[in-house]
Subunit: 209 residues, 2 copies
DNA sequence: TGTACATCAGTGAACGCGCGTTCACTGATGTAC
DNA sequence: TGTACATCAGTGAACGCGCGTTCACTGATGTAC
């Protein structure tokens, strides 16, 4: 019937009525994804449960039907953000990855940018569960950098884990420092530019140095 | 008189009475310094005015006799932390600086460690005043690294600002990432070790690469 | 130098607000017969 | 297949708490005479 069709899907939530199990699971996933963007943009303490649920299209009361606590959600939202980052890095080689990572666009788009960089400050003071998710996120970045560093079997970066750790550390550090400078600060741009140029030069060097 | 001598100085605050202008200024400085340590350890949102004032030896009501707001104090506390870091770096050459910076001791001692690394996550969401202080702190680190990189006039690091920016970015990034990993995580140590070895190797290389 | 008075750093109670969390309730879903 | 009932995702009011901030008050400091 028409009325059934209309009350299916998204409009169901508008009515505030009970939804299908599948719909409920999709709603939960939407909350996690919304949280992953909001936490990156405003930080853990900058996002309230009511804000978050409203942004996801719900009222705040239902939150605890899905999550045990705000801290629990943080761990899930972090994992969600890391997965998005990996997916985004697909098909980028190491040079393209670094160029994008240290671009003004990426710096200025916290909500959709790298979750490792955006959450690193908060993660240090979160639960062990969130920190474990964070470590897994760093491992994913390291793996992605190895896989994407070129087609050649002898690719300089592949297999040299220490070097990749250095690259990840530097791009994350540069992004975090650039974001902490005033918006119009020349230093903010300079940090990105200097690190980008330096890393790209290093990537083109032989590995045995 | 004896009674005057006893009521001078620190005991004055215990009595909760009015103090000398000089004493008041010293008290204010103590609040700023206490804040600089607490903010580094627990983050901006993790420290309340009452906590802070108690840690400095006062009740919370007096706070607004010294500062316009918590955000204002943040800017001052950040500046204070940066100055401490510069003072601490005195007499270290670039190698010693990197070795200390990426040590487990430094990572595990947030309260007394580098304010740039500890506050970078918070600073991005603070006032422009705090961000400006942050940028000045980064500039100080860059300058300190140039001055401390050796005695020789032709020292490889001196004058090569871009390279120093790369070093600062990487040490800050490695420290921040290491702190965000679980306490017993092998990755947390590996990040420090890999970046330390890599930077020290780079510092010993000629500059024209 | 001594006296009278204004200043103001510090106290501690109080304020309003927003937070994370709880709860009684709703009503379609999903199941048992 | 149809009917009766339990489930539970989502609602929205309410809770208690801690936060940043304000305020009346205190009394030694610091100043004017």
């Amino acid at each position: 019937m028409y009325s059934d069709a209309v009350t299916d899907g998204i409009s169901r939530e508008i009515q505030g009525m009970k939804v299908t199990k599948a719909q409920a699971q999709a709603n939960r996933a939407r909350i996690v994804e919304t949280a992953s963007h909001l936490f990156r943009e405003r930080g853990y303490d900058g996002v309230g449960i009511a804000d978050l649920m409203a942004a996801a299209g719900f009222t705040h009361g239902g939150f605890y039907k899905h999550f045990g606590s705000k801290a629990d959600l943080m761990a899930e939202a972090a994992r969600c953000g890391f997965e998005q980052g990996i997916a985004k890095a697909e098909g980028f080689d190491a040079q393209a990855f670094v160029s994008y990572y240290l671009s003004r666009k990426h710096r200025d788009d916290r909500a959709d940018g790298c979750a490792v960089a955006a959450l690193s400050g908060d993660a240090a003071r979160q639960s062990e569960s969130t920190k474990a998710a964070f470590a897994a996120g760093v491992e994913s970045m390291l793996e992605a950098l190895a896989n994407r560093s070129g087609e050649s079997e002898e690719d300089a970066l592949k297999g040299h884990r220490a070097r990749r750790i250095g690259v990840i550390s530097q791009v994350v550090g540069a992004l975090v420092l650039s974001r902490a400078c005033p918006d119009d600060s020349p230093l903010a741009d300079e940090i990105l530019d200097a690190s980008r140029a330096e890393i790209l030069a290093r990537l083109s060097m032989p590995l045995d140095v």
